[in-house]
C-alpha cells in the first residue's frame, strides 16, 4: 500500500493505492469514492478492507479524499460538482498512467455512489460501475443532509438555503448543494458496455427506484447488514459490514 499527494501544492489530493503483491495480468484500476462527512469517517476502515481484498485478487484499488475533505488540501468547502469532477479526472488520469491500467471500475457508497456514477458517465475509460447503498439523486442526498443539519443540538435555526451548512462538523456549501441537487443517476447516459451493479444492505426507496429504472441491466444484490451510515453517536464509531464488503469484492472481481 502506498500513500501520496497528487496535484499542485495548494490543491493536493491525498490518495492511497493498494496494489497486488505479485504481478497481475488483469490491469484493472478500481476507483473507490467515499461518502460525505460523518459517513466518510464511518466508512474509512470498510473502504480500506475492500481495497485490501481487491488487491489480493489482483486488482489495483485507489482511494482518495475529496478536496477539502480528509487529508486532501483545502478548508473551503467545494463550490460545485464540475470543480470536483475536474480534480477527480486529474487523479484518475495520474494513477491510471502510473499503473498502466487498461480497465477502470468505479465504486461508490451513498454520496460516493453519485460521484462514481458521474465519473462513469463522463470518463470513457470506465467500464464498470458499482453502487453501494446509493442515493437515487443529489436531491435525496441534500434532503438527508438537511435533516442531519437540522438535528444538531447546537443549531439555533433551521439550515438556510444560501448559507454553508455544517453537517455534523462537515461543511457543505450552498453552490455545491445546488449543483449536486440536479444530478440524478437515472438520467445518466451510460455507455452500453458499462456494467452496472448495486449492492445494498437493505431495501429502500432508492434501491427500488434504481431497480425499476434500470431493470435487468442493473445487477442488484441484497446483503442484509448494518447500513446506518448517517448515524451519529457520541463515541465516533465506525461501520464494518463484513459480509457485504466480501460480496462487493467478489462482485467486482467476477465482473
Amino acid at each position: 500500500m502506498s500513500s501520496f499527494f497528487i496535484g499542485p501544492p495548494d490543491k493536493q489530493i491525498f490518495a492511497v493505492l493498494s496494489e497486488p503483491r505479485q504481478q497481475s495480468e488483469n490491469n484493472t484500476l478500481v476507483v473507490l469514492c467515499y461518502p460525505f462527512g460523518q459517513e466518510y469517517m464511518r466508512a474509512h476502515r470498510a473502504y480500506r478492507q475492500l481495497a485490501n481484498l481487491l488487491a489480493r485478487s489482483g486488482f489495483t484499488a485507489l482511494r482518495f479524499d475529496y478536496p477539502a475533505c480528509g487529508d486532501s488540501y483545502g478548508d473551503v468547502p467545494l463550490e460545485s460538482v464540475s470543480e470536483l469532477m475536474a480534480d477527480l479526472q486529474r487523479v484518475v488520469d495520474t494513477v491510471q498512467g502510473r499503473t498502466q491500467a487498461t480497465r477502470v471500475y468505479v465504486v461508490g457508497l451513498r454520496f460516493g455512489a453519485l460521484i462514481a456514477a458521474k465519473i462513469a458517465e463522463q470518463m470513457p475509460a470506465v467500464n464498470g460501475l458499482f453502487l453501494w447503498d446509493s442515493y437515487t439523486s443529489g436531491a435525496d442526498f441534500i434532503a438527508d443532509c438537511t435533516k442531519q443539519a437540522a438535528s444538531q443540538v447546537f443549531s439555533s435555526h433551521e439550515p438556510r438555503p444560501g448559507e454553508t451548512w455544517s453537517v455534523h462538523g462537515f461543511p457543505l456549501a450552498a453552490h455545491f448543494r445546488d449543483s449536486i441537487a440536479t444530478f440524478d443517476i437515472r438520467n445518466c447516459n451510460f455507455s452500453s458496455a458499462m456494467k452496472l451493479h448495486h449492492i445494498i444492505s437493505h431495501e429502500n426507496v432508492a434501491s427500488r427506484a434504481l431497480h425499476q429504472h434500470f431493470g435487468v441491466r442493473l445487477n442488484q444484490k441484497l446483503i442484509l447488514s448494518n447500513g446506518d451510515w448517517n448515524y451519529v453517536d457520541k463515541e465516533g464509531s465506525i461501520l464494518m459490514p463484513a459480509a457485504l464488503i466480501s460480496t462487493l469484492s467478489k462482485t467486482i472481481t467476477r465482473a
Binding site: M41, H44, R45, R48, G70, E235, G236, S237, M240, A242
Partner: protein, 280 residues
C-alpha cells in the same frame, strides 16, 4: 493563497507499517516542541469532524511542526506483530513515532494530543518517555467523586417522577449487566480491538505526581458526553486532590459539547488551549 506549511506522508515503524502525515511550517518556531496527534478510538488520523487535520494545519501555519498518524490496525496503518495489550502497543508506537521524528526533523521535545482513548495514550506515553513535555487530553480518565454523587442525587431528587425513574434504572442496570451481548463475529482483520479497562484513580494520580515535577504541562478537557462520570467543572482537581498541579494544568469544562466536538466553537477553543501548550 500561498500556504505557510507543506505536508508529507511518512511510513515508519516495524516493517514501515505505520502511516502518518507530517505538517511542516515554512518558518519553524525555534525551540518549540513538536505536536503529535493520535487516533481517537477507531477513527483514522483525520480525526472527528476533521479536527486533527484542521488543528495540524492551523498550528503549522503558526510555525509548529505537527505529526498525526494511525496506530497499527487503524486507518491506513497495517497490522503489527506487537503483543495483545493495546495500551502497551500504543505507547510503543508513540515512542517509535518520537524516535522517527527525532531522527528526521531533529525534534527532541513533544506534546501529545488525544481524544478519548487517545487521551489515555497521551498520558501513558508521557509517563513512559521523558521527551514528552505536554499532554492534551479530551475526555480522558474520569472517576466519580463524592461531589459528583451529591450533584447526581440532587438532580434525581428534584422531582418524584425522576426519583422513581432513577431507582428503576439502577435496578435494571444491575440485572442487564450480565446479559450484554459479546461482539458480533467477524474475520480477524475486521475485528476492532477491545480497549483495556481504566486503571485505578490512585495509579493515574501516581502518574501525574511523576509528570508534574518533570515540568510537563496539561490541557484537560471534559465534554458533556462524559456526564456519566464527570459532572462539574473542578472535578479533575478533586479526582487527583493529592496532586499539586501548580499552574501546569489548564482545565476546560465543556458541558455543552458532544464528545466529537461537532460544534466548531468548541474545537476552536481547544485549538487555542493546545497552542498554549506549544508556547514555552
Amino acid at each position: 493563497m500561498k500556504l505557510k506549511y507543506s505536508e508529507e506522508v511518512m511510513h515508519f515503524g516495524n516493517d514501515n507499517n505505520l502511516v502518518g502525515i507530517l505538517s511542516k511550517p515554512l518558518e519553524v518556531m525555534a525551540k518549540a516542541p513538536l505536536l503529535i496527534i493520535v487516533n481517537a478510538g477507531v477513527l483514522h488520523r483525520v480525526g472527528p469532524c476533521r479536527f486533527s487535520v484542521k488543528l495540524a494545519r492551523e498550528l503549522a501555519s503558526q510555525g509548529f511542526t505537527v505529526f498525526r498518524f494511525d496506530y497499527s490496525g487503524v486507518g491506513d496503518s497495517g497490522f503489527s506483530a506487537l503483543g495483545h495489550d493495546l495500551q502497551e502497543n500504543h505507547t510503543a508506537e508513540l515512542i517509535q513515532a518520537m524516535d522517527t521524528l527525532e531522527n528526521y526533523v531533529r525534534a527532541d521535545r513533544f506534546v501529545i494530543h488525544g481524544l478519548c482513548s487517545g487521551a489515555r495514550d497521551a498520558f501513558h506515553a508521557a509517563v513512559s518517555d521523558k521527551r514528552v513535555v505536554g499532554v492534551s487530553q479530551v475526555d480522558g480518565y474520569s472517576y466519580r467523586t463524592s461531589k459528583y454523587y451529591w450533584i447526581k442525587v440532587k438532580e434525581k431528587l428534584s422531582s418524584v417522577g425522576g426519583f422513581i425513574g432513577f431507582v428503576k434504572r439502577r435496578i435494571a442496570a444491575v440485572f442487564n449487566r450480565a446479559s450484554e451481548d459479546g461482539p458480533p463475529s467477524a474475520t480477524a482483520e475486521m475485528t476492532v480491538a477491545q480497549w483495556p479497562d481504566a486503571p485505578s484513580c490512585k495509579i493515574v494520580a501516581e502518574g501525574y505526581r511523576e509528570l508534574v515535577p518533570r515540568g510537563v504541562r496539561f490541557v484537560v478537557v471534559y465534554t458533556g458526553a462524559w456526564q456519566d462520570t464527570y459532572n462539574y467543572e473542578s472535578q479533575f482537581f478533586d479526582m487527583y486532590s493529592r496532586v499539586d498541579f501548580c499552574k501546569q494544568a489548564k482545565l476546560i469544562y465543556m458541558p455543552e459539547s458532544d464528545h466529537i466536538m461537532t460544534n466548531p466553537i468548541h474545537s476552536q477553543q481547544l485549538t487555542s488551549a493546545i497552542s498554549w501548550l506549544l508556547h514555552d
